[in-house]
């Protein structure tokens, strides 16, 4: 039972990773496959000039819709979008608590 549940979580986690890369591709208009090269250390907010405040808002709203989470105002800070890893960790933690 426990083993089955762990498998399920791992599957969910990999699906979240795939989904997050797809959302970034859509929002930033990345070329197909470009987001596949993201590592947890890949800079997002500082390094991607496309991510202005309107794009950040669109990105978070899309993540809410597709991941079924709610992002609170006070959770939106520079650290959240600093790297791909920080964004993925945030969405995973939100999903685990959902």
């Amino acid at each position: 039972m426990h083993h089955h549940s762990a498998d399920h979580q791992e599957h969910d986690s990999a699906a979240l990773d795939t989904m997050l890369r797809a959302i970034l591709t859509d929002v930033l208009g990345l070329k197909l496959g470009q987001a596949a090269a993201f590592t947890p250390q890949t800079d997002l907010f500082g390094a991607l000039p496309e991510l202005d405040s309107m794009a950040v808002a669109g990105l978070l709203t899309e993540i809410e819709d597709r991941a079924g989470i709610i992002v609170e105002d006070d959770e939106v800070d520079g650290e959240l979008l600093e790297t791909y890893g920080s964004l993925l960790a945030f969405v995973r933690a939100k999903r685990a608590g959902a």
Partner: protein, 224 residues
């Protein structure tokens, strides 16, 4: 071609607004209602390309400016959702539109005609995204704002969001607005069109495949 249409003004009377019009004498004439605010810029090229394809298939199409929007000289701050709904209905009547293609939040002001509401969001979702953009920008500038406080202030005295000055009435109307397509038109999901949702892109882009798919959907249903 660029044409004028007599648009009802806030406080009474009419003044000319611009419209792109192709094939106005065709038996089928589709009124295109563009999204509100920043999505109008992201989708304008796509919509004009859809109009060209419709024209090529023998279907007329018109894309009118609403008051306070795009080339309009009317101040945006005085506009209301009810005023835009009225203006869109007047445009439909002026151009004798037989169908409507309302895109995204354009569905919130679309006249009751047969046709399509393409990926319509609720008005509250439109505001949520604009409020969040403002909160993100404020935080970068070292100011703390919250959705609750901004919403309370906006309902009282209006608010500037994403560079758009919105009156208190418009803000309040948007909070409650939902697309009412069931009465006449049908909802068209983005998955039916495919590809990256063009309103999500941070930089405006244009996909010929999406314009093809959207125009083909309309033409096939008009001829069915």
């Amino acid at each position: 071609m660029i044409s004028n249409w007599p648009c009802p003004q806030v406080g009474g009377g009419y003044s000319d607004e611009l419209a792109i019009v192709l094939g106005e004498a065709r038996p089928h004439r589709v009124l295109i209602v563009a999204p509100l605010f920043d999505e109008a810029n992201k989708l304008r090229r796509l919509l004009v390309e859809v109009m060209r394809r419709l024209d090529g298939a023998g279907v007329g199409a018109m894309l009118p400016d609403m008051p306070g929007v795009n080339e309009s000289l009317a101040p945006l701050a005085g506009q209301t959702l009810a005023g835009w709904q009225h203006a869109a209905a007047v445009a439909a009547s002026h151009f004798a539109a037989t169908h409507v293609l309302a895109v995204r939040s354009g569905a919130l002001i679309a006249p009751r005609l047969p046709g399509w509401h393409y990926a319509p969001p609720a008005g509250s979702a439109v505001l949520r995204q604009l409020l969040r953009a403002r909160i993100v920008a404020a935080r970068e500038a070292g100011r703390e704002e919250t959705s609750e406080a901004l919403t309370r202030a906006a309902e009282r005295e209006g608010i500037e969001l994403g560079g758009y000055p919105l009156g208190a009435a418009l803000f309040g109307e948007l909070l409650a607005a939902v697309s009412d397509h069931a009465a006449s038109a049908r909802a068209l999901a983005h998955t039916d069109i495919g590809g990256t949702a063009p309103w999500l892109r941070a930089e405006p882009g244009f996909s010929a495949e999406q314009a093809d798919a959207l125009a083909a959907t309309l033409v096939m249903e008009l001829r069915a």
